[in-house]
């Protein structure tokens, strides 16, 4: 019992912080500095609870499951949430600021619960707790039409996807007779038709969460219309949590029905479905990003493409490729959070996030432009940045197992396409002169954080083992790649 309390302490601290922040918001709504400080303090206490008093174990029949991997993801999600709390100070409307931060905290609680559970009921509740605050935050800029549209679209499509997911999960529960993933894993033999329907509906529901075809339509409008700090969390934290739990459901609970999506060796299961979703997302995301003139929209299409890359790793479904998926999603989240941070600052200085608003950035704030260069080049997957390592590792492990050559060729070709639109942004930021003199506005906290994220992306590119080690039970990148290639 006490262990359970310790296990849930970080989430409990965050909920308490959210309530305190709401209280400050009622008594002193103008004290935005104090509100941000209280939120960050609560987050740090939660991080300390996570780091200083680690407990491992299985509580409440799998509803709360903690192990080093889950704790690592909780820490990453907490960090990503706090990053958007800092960005929120620059990009949220001044009105109801405390409520915005409290909602960010509640969403973080949902993500962290999601990372530490193996139970379908908890998974669904935690997903809803993650999404509901994000729906509200997307619509938070009340005077902006685009934000209202973003909120409504996100909410409607999200509700439909949640209905799919709930229906799918309940069918799986109906067949297995348990909501626990490890009990579900004991099912074997030919899948029940109901189970097939359940798996298909679950996959559709998660397609929304990680923004891949066929539930990708919301992403561009939401990324563009939502306050940028909210978009940053939707693009980073929400995606990390979604990918992590999807990996868990598919491999831990439904590992029997993986199938293969290899060329000429097709076997039915969820992997071929994921392969189709991956191929469609990679093509659609990268091609549609080519014609975007708004950087946030461009990042949205790039997010769809990256969702596709992640699914390729999931298709392969063996230990090295799953490690690669988890590595890649963390790298992607750090990079995209940083890119959104640059957008936050540019938006504050120039009032928009179109390509023209980035012109002359290299002159007016060289540090910021350099960070943008790091983020975009990492997203494009160019060495020595972390994004390159993520992709390289993802693709080599997908090649070694199941021979997903066709998917990898498609992904690499489309990755070359993606280089074009990332470089277009950089051309505007670094080469083209500013149309008019702009006064750089100080946003010291956000700027500091952006630099920090850029350094992290750089450092993880130079020493990927620092993250790969904890993800793969201490194996180094070199060992894993050697193992993969030998198979």
């Amino acid at each position: 019992m006490t262990n359970l309390l310790i296990a849930l302490a970080p989430e409990a601290f965050l909920v308490i912080t959210a309530l305190v922040v709401l209280g400050i918001g009622v008594s002193a709504p103008k004290a935005r500095g104090a509100i941000t400080a209280a939120t960050l303090l609560g987050g740090l206490v939660a991080a300390a609870a996570l780091l200083l008093h680690p407990v491992d174990g299985n509580f409440l029949h799998g509803m709360v499951v903690l192990n080093p991997l889950a704790r690592l993801f909780k820490l990453v999600l907490l960090g990503l949430g706090l990053v958007s709390v800092v960005f929120a100070a620059e990009s949220f409307p001044k009105l109801h600021f405390a409520e915005a931060l409290a909602l960010l905290l509640f969403s973080m609680v949902g993500m962290m619960l999601l990372a530490g559970t193996e139970d379908l009921l908890m998974i669904f509740l935690a997903l809803e707790l993650t999404s509901l605050p994000l729906y509200i935050l997307a619509a938070f800029a009340k005077e902006s039409r685009a934000s209202a549209e973003a909120g409504l679209k996100y909410f409607l499509i999200g509700s439909v996807a949640a209905a799919f997911l709930l229906y799918g999960l309940s069918l799986i529960y109906g067949v297995a007779g348990s909501t626990n993933l490890r009990v579900i894993a004991k099912l074997s033999g030919d899948p029940d038709p109901l189970l097939i329907a359940g798996i298909a509906l679950t996959l559709l529901g998660f397609a929304f969460k990680i923004a891949v075809v066929p539930f990708q339509l919301w992403a561009p409008d939401v990324y563009e219309g939502a306050p940028t700090a909210a978009a940053a969390l939707i693009a980073s934290g929400s995606k990390v949590a979604g990918v992590f739990i999807l990996t868990k459901i598919l491999t831990l609970g439904l590992g029997h029905w993986t199938g293969t999506a290899g060329w000429g060796q097709f076997a039915p299961g969820w992997a071929p479905v994921l392969a189709l979703m991956a191929a469609a997302s990679v093509v659609l995301g990268n091609v549609a990003a080519l014609v975007q003139s708004n950087v946030k929209r461009l990042l949205a299409y790039s997010a769809i493409a990256h969702g596709g890359y992640l699914l390729i790793g999931l298709c392969a479904a063996d230990a090295p490729s799953l490690t690669a998926v988890l590595f890649y999603v963390i790298i992607y989240a750090l990079t995209t959070a940083g890119a959104f941070g640059v957008v936050v600052i540019v938006e504050k200085q120039r009032g928009g996030s179109h390509l023209e608003d980035f012109e002359g950035l290299g002159k007016s704030s060289p540090v910021l432009a350099l960070c943008l260069l790091v983020f975009l080049i990492s997203l494009a997957g160019i060495p020595p940045l972390a994004g390159f390592f993520g992709k390289f590792y993802l693709f080599t492990s997908a090649l070694a197992n199941g021979r997903h050559l066709w998917l990898v060729i498609l992904a690499v070709a489309m990755n070359a396409v993606s280089l074009y639109y990332y470089l277009i942004v950089l051309k505007h930021a670094l080469v083209l002169p500013a149309p008019k003199e702009t006064v750089p506005t100080a946003a010291p906290a956000s700027k500091f954080l952006v630099v920090l994220l850029a350094l992290a992306v750089l450092a993880l590119g130079l020493a990927p083992n620092a993250l790969i080690g904890p993800l793969s039970n201490g194996q180094t990148v070199k060992n894993i790649i050697i193992n993969t290639l030998q198979k």
Binding site: M63, A102, F106, L113, I136
Partner: protein, 166 residues
């Protein structure tokens, strides 16, 4: 006795369900939905599922229907206008309905429980107590998470629907 009650309430439920679709005035539709829910609750009582029956009345016939009526009043909905009957639409709908009924009938008749009745699960089961114990012991954590979820929804409604004073 129980069988007679079943038929009475089943017919009431279905009649009022048809009423929801047929009535032109939204308020009449909503009221017949209430009656349909009450009939359904009575069917649950005949099955000894008292908890579900009570929840059915409290939540659906009570809370949800009050919301329905509020929305009807707020939107000031008038009686629907009579539309010309389209033969093709009726025929299409009829075919879909017939196919659906056939499918349902086949599924139900193929179920093992359709022909031989199963014994009672646990005679004298106190279902309210059972649900309470399950909710507060085994599912305590999900229960509390739902509490946080409702708080989030409340904050969202207040923040988004509030008219700002300038």
């Amino acid at each position: 006795m129980s069988l007679a009650l079943f038929w009475i309430f089943a017919i009431l439920t279905l009649l009022f369900a048809v009423g929801v679709v047929v009535f032109r005035s939204p308020v009449s539709s909503a009221m017949s939905l209430v009656m349909s829910f009450v009939g359904l609750a009575a069917l649950f009582v005949t099955l000894d599922a008292f908890f579900i029956a009570v929840v059915q009345v409290l939540v659906y016939a009570g809370a949800v229907m009050v919301l329905f009526l509020f929305i009807i009043m707020l939107l000031d909905l008038r009686t629907e206008e009579r539309r010309p009957v389209k033969l093709a639409a009726w025929a299409g709908g009829g075919i879909v309905l017939a196919g659906f009924l056939v499918a349902i009938a086949r599924v139900i008749s193929s179920l093992p429980g359709a022909t031989n009745t199963k014994p009672e699960i646990l005679p004298g089961l106190n279902d309210v107590a059972q649900v309470g114990v399950a909710l507060f012991r085994n599912f305590n954590l999900p229960f509390q998470i739902i509490g946080v979820l409702l708080l989030v929804a409340t904050i969202g409604v207040v923040v988004l629907s509030r008219r700002e004073l300038k």
